[in-house]
């Protein structure tokens, strides 16, 4: 196996590109793919100030690293979700990563700052943990970005994540979601711009990037993720990909090129995210569709509730 660029021994094969790469040229490929996504989707300008949502996982640490390598001014924000050992470990990993490099990292711990955590919120609201978790993360990243004057919130969603979400939305023809599934969401009334610079890179490439760059990320999964639909979609897509390399990329980018605009045009105005009437949350001052926003409502319901003792440990 030889590197496509320099003919030296390769360390990784990427079947959808029908090519192998040595370490140096693979890392360059990753940076080039991110640079291309930023340009193609007009994610942000060269001098932009970026806030990266970091979890300690491969994708968020890698995207932070790549953006810095590309010369962007990117800070990190980590949210302590209170999910037992998984959160302890991911917090340690993220702090160590930022400290070693001297990069600014802001930390918000849900229990310390708002007196609740994700498992407790899930119990009180009787919803799946990912629901309270996603709501909390979205709100806190949005708020931090707006208050900190950042040009965009960066998340580590990669090609596999986006293809899996698309697969789920298509399976159930969730046309309102299809209308909004884009790698860039523009800023609007109180919400920051949101971008996904890793959409041109697969999950396997992100792990390879971290290994080759010596990035120590948390390999253990969040215990709450076990058995969710999203994982099932990824498995199904990977079975197809193994038979027919390039399928995931063709599926996702074909959607962006040829289908997304039709869904956006057909979406009833009331359902379009930019058309919802918003007021200001009387509690946090953020955008809200009611008197207080969904996050503040969650905090009111769950703060101070008897914390849930986690029986599941870090590995799932």
């Amino acid at each position: 196996m030889k590197c496509r660029v320099c003919r030296e021994p390769a360390v990784i094969d990427i079947r959808r590109h029908n090519a192998n790469f040595c370490s140096e040229h693979f890392l360059r490929l990753c940076r080039d793919q991110v640079a291309r996504a930023i340009k193609d989707f007009e994610m942000f300008e060269p001098g932009a100030r970026l806030l990266v949502a970091v979890s300690g996982g491969k994708d968020s640490l890698a995207v932070w690293d790549i953006l810095r390598e590309l010369g962007y001014d990117a800070d990190g924000l980590y949210i302590g979700l209170g999910i037992g050992e998984y959160s302890d470990e991911s917090g340690r990993t993220t702090r160590a990563f930022a400290e070693q490099r001297g990069w600014p990292l802001q930390i918000i711990d849900l229990r310390e700052a708002y007196d609740y955590d994700v498992p407790t919120a899930a119990k009180v609201t009787k919803r799946v943990p990912c629901s309270a978790c996603g709501l909390s993360k979205r709100h806190l990243f949005d708020q931090a970005a707006v208050e900190g004057g950042y040009d965009a919130v960066v998340t580590g969603h990669n090609l596999d994540d986006e293809a899996a979400v698309l697969f789920g939305n298509t399976l159930r023809w969730q046309t309102d979601y299809l209308a909004r599934q884009l790698p860039v969401l523009p800023a609007r009334s109180g919400f920051p711009r949101k971008v996904k610079p890793l959409v041109r890179l697969g999950e396997r490439e992100m792990v390879a990037y971290c290994v080759l760059r010596g990035i120590d990320y948390i390999v253990e999964e969040c215990p709450m993720a076990a058995g969710n639909k999203h994982l099932g979609y990824k498995e199904a897509l990977n079975a197809i990909e193994a038979q027919s390399p390039g399928s995931k990329q063709a599926f996702y980018f074909g959607f962006l090129d040829r289908a997304q605009a039709h869904f956006a045009a057909a979406a009833p105005t009331a359902e379009r995210s930019d058309a919802v009437e918003l007021t200001t949350c009387s509690s946090c001052g953020g955008p809200s569709s009611g008197e207080i926003c969904a996050f503040c409502f969650l905090v009111r319901r769950t703060a101070g509730a008897q914390p849930v003792a986690l029986t599941v440990k870090g590995s799932s």
């Binding site: 990784i12 370490s23 596999d160 396997r204 792990v207 290994v211 993720a225 639909k229 193994a242 590995s315």
Partner: protein, 66 residues
């Protein structure tokens, strides 16, 4: 050779020599969903592992729903 696997974490003893492709086939793993790591770096797909090797098979799929 020693093969470390995750989720759940376990170690298998597999006789070498064996190519990466054959090893993954034997373990019924999809090549799209794992990477093989030896002494902190990636092992290419056409490499042959010897009896004395120690490798980790790292899953690459993560499952956050948001």
């Amino acid at each position: 050779m020693k093969v470390h696997l995750r989720n759940p974490s376990r170690t298998l003893d597999v006789p070498g020599p064996v190519s990466i492709v054959a090893l993954l086939q034997r373990l019924e793993l999809n090549r799209e969903t794992v990477l093989v790591i030896r002494s902190g770096t990636l092992v290419p797909g056409d490499a042959v592992l010897e009896d004395a090797d120690e490798v980790e098979i790292r899953p690459v799929i993560s499952g956050g729903a948001t």
